[in-house]
Protein backbone atom coordinates (compact mmCIF):
# COMPACT_ATOMS: atom_id res chain seq x y z
CA UNK A 1 0.00 0.00 0.00
CA UNK A 2 1.44 3.32 -1.05
CA UNK A 3 1.44 5.92 1.67
CA UNK A 4 1.84 9.64 1.13
CA UNK A 5 5.21 10.91 2.21
CA UNK A 6 4.85 12.38 5.71
CA UNK A 7 5.90 15.96 6.31
CA UNK A 8 9.27 16.42 8.01
CA UNK A 9 8.99 16.33 11.77
CA UNK A 10 5.55 14.80 11.74
CA UNK A 11 4.61 12.04 14.12
CA UNK A 12 5.61 9.03 12.11
CA UNK A 13 8.05 6.59 13.56
CA UNK A 14 9.60 5.98 10.15
CA UNK A 15 11.13 9.44 10.28
CA UNK A 16 12.89 8.73 13.54
CA UNK A 17 16.63 8.34 13.65
CA UNK A 18 16.36 5.91 16.59
CA UNK A 19 13.22 3.97 15.70
CA UNK A 20 13.80 1.09 18.10
CA UNK A 21 14.52 3.35 21.05
CA UNK A 22 11.48 5.43 20.20
CA UNK A 23 9.16 2.48 19.85
CA UNK A 24 10.28 0.86 23.11
CA UNK A 25 9.92 4.20 24.85
CA UNK A 26 6.39 4.73 23.58
CA UNK A 27 5.59 1.10 24.35
CA UNK A 28 6.57 1.45 28.01
CA UNK A 29 4.69 4.72 28.33
CA UNK A 30 1.48 3.43 26.81
CA UNK A 31 1.54 -0.06 28.27
CA UNK A 32 1.58 1.03 31.91
CA UNK A 33 -1.52 3.16 31.28
CA UNK A 34 -3.26 0.44 29.31
CA UNK A 35 -2.55 -2.29 31.86
CA UNK A 36 -3.94 -0.13 34.62
CA UNK A 37 -6.99 0.92 32.62
CA UNK A 38 -7.97 -2.48 31.30
CA UNK A 39 -6.92 -4.11 34.54
CA UNK A 40 -9.48 -2.29 36.62
CA UNK A 41 -12.12 -2.63 33.92
CA UNK A 42 -11.70 -6.27 32.95
CA UNK A 43 -9.51 -8.19 35.40
CA UNK A 44 -10.49 -7.79 39.01
CA UNK A 45 -7.22 -8.97 40.46
CA UNK A 46 -5.65 -6.09 42.33
CA UNK A 47 -2.39 -7.78 43.21
CA UNK A 48 -1.50 -8.82 39.68
CA UNK A 49 -2.46 -5.49 38.10
CA UNK A 50 -0.66 -3.60 40.84
CA UNK A 51 2.58 -5.50 40.36
CA UNK A 52 2.57 -5.39 36.56
CA UNK A 53 1.70 -1.71 36.45
CA UNK A 54 4.30 -0.72 38.99
CA UNK A 55 7.02 -2.72 37.26
CA UNK A 56 6.08 -1.14 33.93
CA UNK A 57 6.14 2.30 35.54
CA UNK A 58 9.56 1.66 37.05
CA UNK A 59 10.90 0.36 33.76
CA UNK A 60 9.48 3.37 31.96
CA UNK A 61 11.03 5.72 34.49
CA UNK A 62 14.43 4.08 34.17
CA UNK A 63 14.28 3.82 30.39
CA UNK A 64 13.24 7.43 29.95
CA UNK A 65 15.76 8.79 32.42
CA UNK A 66 18.79 6.82 31.38
CA UNK A 67 18.31 5.70 27.80
CA UNK A 68 15.52 7.39 25.86
CA UNK A 69 16.26 10.92 27.00
CA UNK A 70 19.92 10.44 26.19
CA UNK A 71 19.42 8.89 22.76
CA UNK A 72 16.44 10.87 21.53
CA UNK A 73 17.16 14.40 22.71
CA UNK A 74 20.61 14.19 24.31
CA UNK A 75 19.50 15.08 27.82
CA UNK A 76 20.08 13.31 31.11
CA UNK A 77 19.70 14.00 34.80
CA UNK A 78 20.72 12.27 37.98
CA UNK A 79 21.41 12.73 41.63
CA UNK A 80 24.71 12.48 43.42
CA UNK A 81 25.27 12.09 47.12
CA UNK A 82 28.34 13.38 48.79
CA UNK A 83 29.32 10.50 51.12
CA UNK A 84 31.03 12.79 53.59
CA UNK A 85 28.19 15.19 54.25
CA UNK A 86 25.24 13.22 52.93
CA UNK A 87 24.09 16.18 50.87
CA UNK A 88 22.35 15.22 47.69
CA UNK A 89 23.14 17.10 44.53
CA UNK A 90 21.08 17.18 41.35
CA UNK A 91 22.82 17.30 38.02
CA UNK A 92 21.07 18.15 34.77
CA UNK A 93 23.19 17.30 31.78
CA UNK A 94 22.75 18.12 28.14
CA UNK A 95 24.94 17.13 25.27
CA UNK A 96 27.36 19.69 23.95
CA UNK A 97 25.67 22.03 21.48
CA UNK A 98 26.56 21.20 17.93
CA UNK A 99 27.79 17.67 18.53
CA UNK A 100 24.42 15.99 18.58
CA UNK A 101 21.77 16.32 15.91
CA UNK A 102 18.34 15.98 17.41
CA UNK A 103 15.81 14.61 15.04
CA UNK A 104 12.64 16.77 15.14
CA UNK A 105 10.38 13.75 14.95
CA UNK A 106 12.14 12.15 17.89
CA UNK A 107 12.05 15.28 19.96
CA UNK A 108 8.39 15.94 19.19
CA UNK A 109 7.39 12.40 20.16
CA UNK A 110 9.53 12.68 23.26
CA UNK A 111 8.10 15.92 24.58
CA UNK A 112 4.51 15.05 23.80
CA UNK A 113 4.90 11.72 25.60
CA UNK A 114 6.62 13.38 28.54
CA UNK A 115 3.89 15.97 29.07
CA UNK A 116 0.85 13.90 28.09
CA UNK A 117 1.56 11.07 30.52
CA UNK A 118 1.19 13.07 33.78
CA UNK A 119 -2.00 14.65 32.44
CA UNK A 120 -3.50 11.24 31.72
CA UNK A 121 -2.52 9.95 35.15
CA UNK A 122 -4.05 13.01 36.80
CA UNK A 123 -7.27 12.23 34.96
CA UNK A 124 -7.12 8.64 36.17
CA UNK A 125 -6.47 9.84 39.71
CA UNK A 126 -9.57 12.01 39.53
CA UNK A 127 -11.57 9.06 38.24
CA UNK A 128 -10.31 6.88 41.09
CA UNK A 129 -11.20 9.59 43.61
CA UNK A 130 -14.64 10.27 42.24
CA UNK A 131 -15.58 6.60 42.03
CA UNK A 132 -14.28 5.94 45.57
CA UNK A 133 -11.72 3.39 44.43
CA UNK A 134 -9.33 4.41 47.17
CA UNK A 135 -7.45 1.14 47.08
CA UNK A 136 -5.98 2.15 43.72
CA UNK A 137 -4.82 5.53 44.91
CA UNK A 138 -1.33 4.43 46.08
CA UNK A 139 -0.59 3.10 42.61
CA UNK A 140 -1.83 6.27 40.93
CA UNK A 141 0.19 8.41 43.33
CA UNK A 142 3.35 6.43 42.57
CA UNK A 143 2.67 6.81 38.85
CA UNK A 144 2.17 10.55 39.24
CA UNK A 145 5.36 10.97 41.24
CA UNK A 146 7.44 9.02 38.73
CA UNK A 147 6.08 10.70 35.61
CA UNK A 148 6.03 14.24 36.99
CA UNK A 149 9.58 13.89 38.28
CA UNK A 150 10.76 12.98 34.82
CA UNK A 151 8.78 15.77 33.19
CA UNK A 152 10.16 18.45 35.49
CA UNK A 153 13.72 17.19 35.37
CA UNK A 154 13.81 16.96 31.60
CA UNK A 155 12.28 20.38 31.11
CA UNK A 156 14.93 21.73 33.44
CA UNK A 157 17.63 20.01 31.35
CA UNK A 158 16.27 21.40 28.14
CA UNK A 159 15.72 24.92 29.38
CA UNK A 160 19.38 25.11 30.10
CA UNK A 161 20.57 23.60 26.88
CA UNK A 162 18.43 25.28 24.29
CA UNK A 163 16.36 27.93 26.04
CA UNK A 164 13.55 27.26 23.68
CA UNK A 165 9.88 27.11 24.32
CA UNK A 166 9.21 23.48 24.97
CA UNK A 167 5.50 23.35 24.73
CA UNK A 168 5.48 25.30 21.52
CA UNK A 169 8.11 23.08 20.02
CA UNK A 170 6.43 19.92 21.18
CA UNK A 171 3.00 20.69 19.91
CA UNK A 172 3.77 22.66 16.78
CA UNK A 173 6.91 20.88 15.78
CA UNK A 174 5.98 20.78 12.15
CA UNK A 175 7.03 24.34 11.38
CA UNK A 176 10.37 23.82 13.08
CA UNK A 177 11.52 21.29 10.57
CA UNK A 178 14.73 22.65 9.18
CA UNK A 179 17.11 21.59 6.53
CA UNK A 180 18.37 18.77 8.74
CA UNK A 181 14.97 17.17 8.82
CA UNK A 182 14.44 17.35 5.11
CA UNK A 183 17.88 15.88 4.59
CA UNK A 184 16.98 13.01 6.85
CA UNK A 185 13.74 12.45 4.98
CA UNK A 186 15.54 12.47 1.68
CA UNK A 187 18.01 9.92 2.95
CA UNK A 188 15.27 7.68 4.29
CA UNK A 189 13.24 7.62 1.12
CA UNK A 190 16.06 7.44 -1.38
CA UNK A 191 16.95 3.96 -0.20
Amino acid sequence: MEQPQPAPGSLSWRLSSHPITLLIFLGFRVSSLLVYLFGILLIHNLVMIFIITILLLAADFYYLKNIAGRRLVGLRWWNEVDPATGKSHWVFESSEPGTKVVNPTDSRFFWIAIYAQPCLWIALALVALLTFNFIWLPLVVIALVLTITNSLAFSRCDKFSQASNLAGRAFSGGNLAGSIASNMVGRFFSR
Partner: protein, 314 residues
Amino acid sequence: MASNHHDYQNVSGVDLDDGDLIDPDDADLNTFDDPLASTTQPSTSRTPLTGTIRSSASSSAAAANNNRNNAASSWTSRFPGEDRTSSALSTIDESVWATLRRDLLAVWHKLREVLYPRHLFSSWGGTDSIRGAYASLRSGGLASAREELAGLAGRVMDAESLLEHGNGGNGGGGLRDWDLWGPLIFCLLLSTLLCLRSRDDQRDMVFSGVFAMVWVGMAVVTVQIKLLGGNISFASSICVIGYTLFPLVIAALLSALRLHWIARIPVYLVLVAWSLAAGVSILGGSGVVKNRVGLAVYPLFIFYLGLGCLCFIS
Protein backbone atom coordinates in the same frame (compact mmCIF):
# COMPACT_ATOMS: atom_id res chain seq x y z
CA MET B 1 8.29 53.87 29.94
CA ALA B 2 11.83 53.53 31.12
CA SER B 3 10.85 53.82 34.74
CA ASN B 4 8.24 51.17 34.25
CA HIS B 5 10.85 48.92 32.82
CA HIS B 6 13.09 49.44 35.81
CA ASP B 7 10.26 48.73 38.19
CA TYR B 8 9.63 45.50 36.44
CA GLN B 9 13.25 44.54 36.77
CA ASN B 10 13.25 45.25 40.47
CA VAL B 11 10.12 43.25 41.02
CA SER B 12 11.48 40.24 39.25
CA GLY B 13 14.71 40.54 41.17
CA VAL B 14 12.87 40.57 44.46
CA ASP B 15 10.96 37.49 43.40
CA LEU B 16 14.15 35.62 42.69
CA ASP B 17 15.60 36.62 46.03
CA ASP B 18 12.51 35.40 47.78
CA GLY B 19 13.14 32.07 46.20
CA ASP B 20 16.45 32.03 48.00
CA LEU B 21 15.10 33.21 51.33
CA ILE B 22 12.20 30.83 51.64
CA ASP B 23 13.26 27.26 52.11
CA PRO B 24 12.34 25.29 49.02
CA ASP B 25 9.67 22.65 49.45
CA ASP B 26 11.96 19.83 48.47
CA ALA B 27 14.74 20.85 50.83
CA ASP B 28 15.62 17.95 53.03
CA LEU B 29 16.63 18.20 56.61
CA ASN B 30 20.28 18.40 55.69
CA THR B 31 19.64 21.84 54.30
CA PHE B 32 18.68 23.14 57.67
CA ASP B 33 20.63 23.62 60.85
CA ASP B 34 20.92 20.64 63.06
CA PRO B 35 20.31 21.96 66.55
CA LEU B 36 22.15 19.02 68.08
CA ALA B 37 25.31 19.17 66.04
CA SER B 38 25.55 22.77 64.98
CA THR B 39 28.80 23.51 66.74
CA THR B 40 31.04 21.98 64.13
CA GLN B 41 29.44 23.49 61.09
CA PRO B 42 28.74 27.16 60.60
CA SER B 43 25.08 27.88 60.14
CA THR B 44 24.03 27.74 56.55
CA SER B 45 20.50 29.04 56.52
CA ARG B 46 21.48 32.57 57.52
CA THR B 47 24.10 33.07 54.89
CA PRO B 48 21.78 33.93 52.02
CA LEU B 49 19.89 36.28 54.31
CA THR B 50 22.85 38.45 55.20
CA GLY B 51 24.11 38.30 51.69
CA THR B 52 20.84 39.61 50.40
CA ILE B 53 20.72 42.48 52.83
CA ARG B 54 24.27 43.54 52.22
CA SER B 55 24.06 43.69 48.47
CA SER B 56 20.41 43.81 47.69
CA ALA B 57 20.69 46.36 44.93
CA SER B 58 23.47 44.68 43.01
CA SER B 59 22.07 41.21 43.49
CA SER B 60 18.64 42.19 42.28
CA ALA B 61 20.14 43.86 39.24
CA ALA B 62 22.22 40.77 38.57
CA ALA B 63 19.19 38.60 39.02
CA ALA B 64 17.22 40.69 36.58
CA ASN B 65 20.05 40.48 34.09
CA ASN B 66 20.23 36.77 34.56
CA ASN B 67 16.51 36.51 34.13
CA ARG B 68 16.64 38.40 30.87
CA ASN B 69 19.55 36.42 29.52
CA ASN B 70 17.83 33.09 29.50
CA ALA B 71 14.35 34.32 28.90
CA ALA B 72 12.86 30.86 28.70
CA SER B 73 13.99 29.85 32.16
CA SER B 74 10.95 29.51 34.34
CA TRP B 75 10.15 28.06 37.71
CA THR B 76 11.79 24.73 36.99
CA SER B 77 15.13 26.55 37.18
CA ARG B 78 14.52 27.07 40.87
CA PHE B 79 15.28 23.44 41.67
CA PRO B 80 18.55 23.32 43.49
CA GLY B 81 20.95 21.65 41.15
CA GLU B 82 23.70 22.04 38.66
CA ASP B 83 23.37 22.40 34.92
CA ARG B 84 26.05 20.80 32.85
CA THR B 85 26.96 20.23 29.28
CA SER B 86 28.52 16.88 28.73
CA SER B 87 32.23 16.81 28.20
CA ALA B 88 34.19 14.47 25.99
CA LEU B 89 34.66 12.04 28.86
CA SER B 90 31.00 11.88 29.62
CA THR B 91 28.91 8.80 29.12
CA ILE B 92 26.06 10.55 27.39
CA ASP B 93 26.79 8.83 24.08
CA GLU B 94 27.48 5.36 25.39
CA SER B 95 25.56 2.37 24.14
CA VAL B 96 22.43 1.05 25.79
CA TRP B 97 24.19 -2.10 26.93
CA ALA B 98 26.88 -0.13 28.71
CA THR B 99 24.22 1.76 30.65
CA LEU B 100 22.33 -1.39 31.55
CA ARG B 101 25.48 -3.21 32.56
CA ARG B 102 26.68 -0.37 34.78
CA ASP B 103 23.37 -0.07 36.57
CA LEU B 104 22.96 -3.81 37.07
CA LEU B 105 26.47 -3.95 38.49
CA ALA B 106 25.61 -1.11 40.86
CA VAL B 107 22.55 -3.00 42.06
CA TRP B 108 24.65 -6.13 42.57
CA HIS B 109 27.26 -4.24 44.57
CA LYS B 110 24.61 -2.87 46.89
CA LEU B 111 23.08 -6.29 47.32
CA ARG B 112 26.50 -7.68 48.16
CA GLU B 113 26.85 -5.13 50.94
CA VAL B 114 23.72 -6.65 52.45
CA LEU B 115 24.71 -10.27 51.91
CA TYR B 116 27.97 -9.69 53.66
CA PRO B 117 27.77 -6.90 56.26
CA ARG B 118 31.49 -6.35 56.27
CA HIS B 119 31.58 -3.43 58.66
CA LEU B 120 30.03 -5.55 61.35
CA PHE B 121 32.15 -8.63 60.80
CA SER B 122 35.36 -6.73 60.27
CA SER B 123 35.42 -6.00 63.98
CA TRP B 124 35.55 -9.71 64.70
CA GLY B 125 39.00 -10.11 63.28
CA GLY B 126 40.22 -12.30 60.47
CA THR B 127 38.31 -14.33 57.95
CA ASP B 128 38.46 -17.51 60.04
CA SER B 129 36.21 -16.14 62.71
CA ILE B 130 33.82 -14.84 60.10
CA ARG B 131 33.65 -18.24 58.46
CA GLY B 132 33.15 -19.83 61.83
CA ALA B 133 30.40 -17.43 62.69
CA TYR B 134 28.62 -18.13 59.46
CA ALA B 135 29.04 -21.86 59.85
CA SER B 136 27.66 -21.92 63.34
CA LEU B 137 24.83 -19.66 62.22
CA ARG B 138 23.97 -22.09 59.47
CA SER B 139 24.48 -25.47 61.09
CA GLY B 140 23.91 -24.75 64.75
CA GLY B 141 20.60 -25.26 66.42
CA LEU B 142 18.63 -22.92 68.58
CA ALA B 143 21.22 -22.54 71.32
CA SER B 144 24.15 -21.63 69.13
CA ALA B 145 21.98 -19.35 67.05
CA ARG B 146 20.98 -17.57 70.20
CA GLU B 147 24.59 -17.27 71.21
CA GLU B 148 25.48 -15.77 67.89
CA LEU B 149 22.51 -13.48 68.18
CA ALA B 150 23.71 -12.32 71.54
CA GLY B 151 27.12 -11.71 70.03
CA LEU B 152 25.59 -9.78 67.17
CA ALA B 153 23.47 -7.76 69.53
CA GLY B 154 26.55 -7.01 71.55
CA ARG B 155 28.27 -5.79 68.40
CA VAL B 156 25.33 -3.62 67.53
CA MET B 157 25.13 -2.10 70.96
CA ASP B 158 28.86 -1.54 70.99
CA ALA B 159 28.29 1.24 68.57
CA GLU B 160 31.39 3.33 69.01
CA SER B 161 33.88 0.61 68.22
CA LEU B 162 31.74 -0.43 65.30
CA LEU B 163 31.86 3.05 63.87
CA GLU B 164 35.60 3.31 64.39
CA HIS B 165 36.12 0.11 62.49
CA GLY B 166 33.72 1.14 59.80
CA ASN B 167 35.30 4.51 59.29
CA GLY B 168 38.72 2.98 59.23
CA GLY B 169 38.03 1.25 55.93
CA ASN B 170 36.49 2.78 52.87
CA GLY B 171 33.42 3.91 54.67
CA GLY B 172 31.31 5.33 51.86
CA GLY B 173 30.34 1.94 50.55
CA GLY B 174 27.07 1.78 48.73
CA LEU B 175 25.83 5.15 49.80
CA ARG B 176 27.20 7.41 47.14
CA ASP B 177 24.86 6.19 44.44
CA TRP B 178 21.35 5.30 45.40
CA ASP B 179 18.62 3.71 43.40
CA LEU B 180 15.15 2.59 44.22
CA TRP B 181 15.24 -0.75 42.42
CA GLY B 182 16.07 -2.67 45.58
CA PRO B 183 13.35 -1.14 47.74
CA LEU B 184 10.80 -1.52 44.97
CA ILE B 185 11.58 -5.12 44.09
CA PHE B 186 11.95 -6.34 47.66
CA CYS B 187 8.84 -4.51 48.81
CA LEU B 188 6.83 -6.04 45.96
CA LEU B 189 8.23 -9.50 46.67
CA LEU B 190 7.48 -9.21 50.36
CA SER B 191 3.91 -8.08 49.78
CA THR B 192 3.28 -10.75 47.17
CA LEU B 193 4.73 -13.60 49.19
CA LEU B 194 2.84 -12.56 52.30
CA CYS B 195 -0.50 -12.30 50.54
CA LEU B 196 -0.14 -15.67 48.82
CA ARG B 197 -1.25 -17.61 51.89
CA SER B 198 -3.95 -15.23 53.03
CA ARG B 199 -7.64 -15.82 52.54
CA ASP B 200 -9.07 -14.84 49.21
CA ASP B 201 -11.22 -12.04 50.49
CA GLN B 202 -8.34 -10.53 52.45
CA ARG B 203 -5.68 -10.81 49.80
CA ASP B 204 -6.00 -7.29 48.43
CA MET B 205 -5.95 -5.77 51.88
CA VAL B 206 -2.89 -7.77 52.93
CA PHE B 207 -1.02 -6.76 49.80
CA SER B 208 -1.82 -3.06 50.09
CA GLY B 209 -1.25 -3.12 53.82
CA VAL B 210 2.20 -4.66 53.65
CA PHE B 211 3.16 -2.46 50.73
CA ALA B 212 2.13 0.71 52.53
CA MET B 213 3.64 -0.45 55.80
CA VAL B 214 7.04 -1.04 54.28
CA TRP B 215 7.21 2.38 52.65
CA VAL B 216 5.82 4.26 55.63
CA GLY B 217 8.14 2.33 57.94
CA MET B 218 11.16 3.20 55.81
CA ALA B 219 10.14 6.85 55.80
CA VAL B 220 9.65 6.93 59.56
CA VAL B 221 12.99 5.27 60.28
CA THR B 222 14.71 7.67 57.93
CA VAL B 223 13.11 10.73 59.48
CA GLN B 224 14.13 9.48 62.90
CA ILE B 225 17.74 9.01 61.80
CA LYS B 226 17.79 12.48 60.33
CA LEU B 227 16.25 14.03 63.43
CA LEU B 228 19.02 12.42 65.44
CA GLY B 229 21.55 14.27 63.35
CA GLY B 230 22.58 11.64 60.85
CA ASN B 231 24.10 13.13 57.75
CA ILE B 232 22.48 10.94 55.16
CA SER B 233 20.14 11.98 52.41
CA PHE B 234 16.57 10.76 52.50
CA ALA B 235 16.84 8.72 49.33
CA SER B 236 20.09 7.06 50.38
CA SER B 237 18.55 5.88 53.59
CA ILE B 238 15.47 4.54 51.79
CA CYS B 239 17.82 2.74 49.42
CA VAL B 240 19.81 1.12 52.20
CA ILE B 241 16.78 0.06 54.21
CA GLY B 242 15.13 -1.27 51.07
CA TYR B 243 18.11 -3.42 50.18
CA THR B 244 18.32 -4.79 53.71
CA LEU B 245 14.81 -6.19 53.30
CA PHE B 246 16.41 -9.08 51.44
CA PRO B 247 16.65 -11.50 54.43
CA LEU B 248 13.03 -10.75 55.27
CA VAL B 249 12.06 -11.69 51.74
CA ILE B 250 13.63 -15.08 52.45
CA ALA B 251 11.50 -15.27 55.60
CA ALA B 252 8.37 -14.47 53.63
CA LEU B 253 9.32 -17.10 51.07
CA LEU B 254 9.68 -19.69 53.82
CA SER B 255 6.26 -18.71 55.11
CA ALA B 256 4.78 -19.05 51.67
CA LEU B 257 6.30 -22.54 51.52
CA ARG B 258 4.50 -23.41 54.79
CA LEU B 259 7.48 -23.86 57.06
CA HIS B 260 6.44 -25.35 60.39
CA TRP B 261 5.90 -22.69 63.01
CA ILE B 262 8.39 -24.16 65.51
CA ALA B 263 11.10 -24.08 62.92
CA ARG B 264 10.19 -20.53 62.04
CA ILE B 265 11.22 -19.06 65.39
CA PRO B 266 15.01 -19.55 65.22
CA VAL B 267 15.22 -19.10 61.46
CA TYR B 268 13.27 -15.88 61.47
CA LEU B 269 15.21 -14.53 64.43
CA VAL B 270 18.42 -15.13 62.52
CA LEU B 271 16.99 -13.49 59.42
CA VAL B 272 15.82 -10.43 61.34
CA ALA B 273 19.24 -10.21 62.97
CA TRP B 274 20.82 -10.45 59.54
CA SER B 275 18.70 -7.58 58.27
CA LEU B 276 19.52 -5.53 61.31
CA ALA B 277 23.22 -6.31 61.02
CA ALA B 278 23.25 -5.26 57.39
CA GLY B 279 21.33 -2.08 58.09
CA VAL B 280 23.52 -1.08 60.99
CA SER B 281 26.62 -2.02 59.07
CA ILE B 282 25.83 0.10 56.06
CA LEU B 283 24.31 3.04 57.87
CA GLY B 284 26.81 3.02 60.71
CA GLY B 285 29.77 2.07 58.55
CA SER B 286 29.27 5.19 56.51
CA GLY B 287 29.57 7.34 59.59
CA VAL B 288 25.93 8.27 59.40
CA VAL B 289 25.02 8.59 63.02
CA LYS B 290 27.72 9.33 65.52
CA ASN B 291 27.25 8.69 69.22
CA ARG B 292 23.60 7.77 68.84
CA VAL B 293 23.69 4.54 66.89
CA GLY B 294 21.71 2.57 69.44
CA LEU B 295 18.98 5.19 69.53
CA ALA B 296 18.81 5.52 65.78
CA VAL B 297 18.84 1.80 65.18
CA TYR B 298 16.06 0.98 67.63
CA PRO B 299 13.19 1.94 65.29
CA LEU B 300 14.97 0.05 62.53
CA PHE B 301 14.95 -2.97 64.83
CA ILE B 302 11.24 -2.50 65.52
CA PHE B 303 10.59 -2.22 61.80
CA TYR B 304 12.42 -5.44 60.97
CA LEU B 305 10.89 -7.23 63.94
CA GLY B 306 7.40 -6.17 62.89
CA LEU B 307 7.92 -7.45 59.38
CA GLY B 308 9.40 -10.64 60.78
CA CYS B 309 6.31 -11.15 62.95
CA LEU B 310 4.13 -10.59 59.90
CA CYS B 311 6.07 -13.32 58.12
CA PHE B 312 5.71 -15.52 61.19
CA ILE B 313 1.95 -15.29 61.50
CA SER B 314 1.15 -15.42 57.81
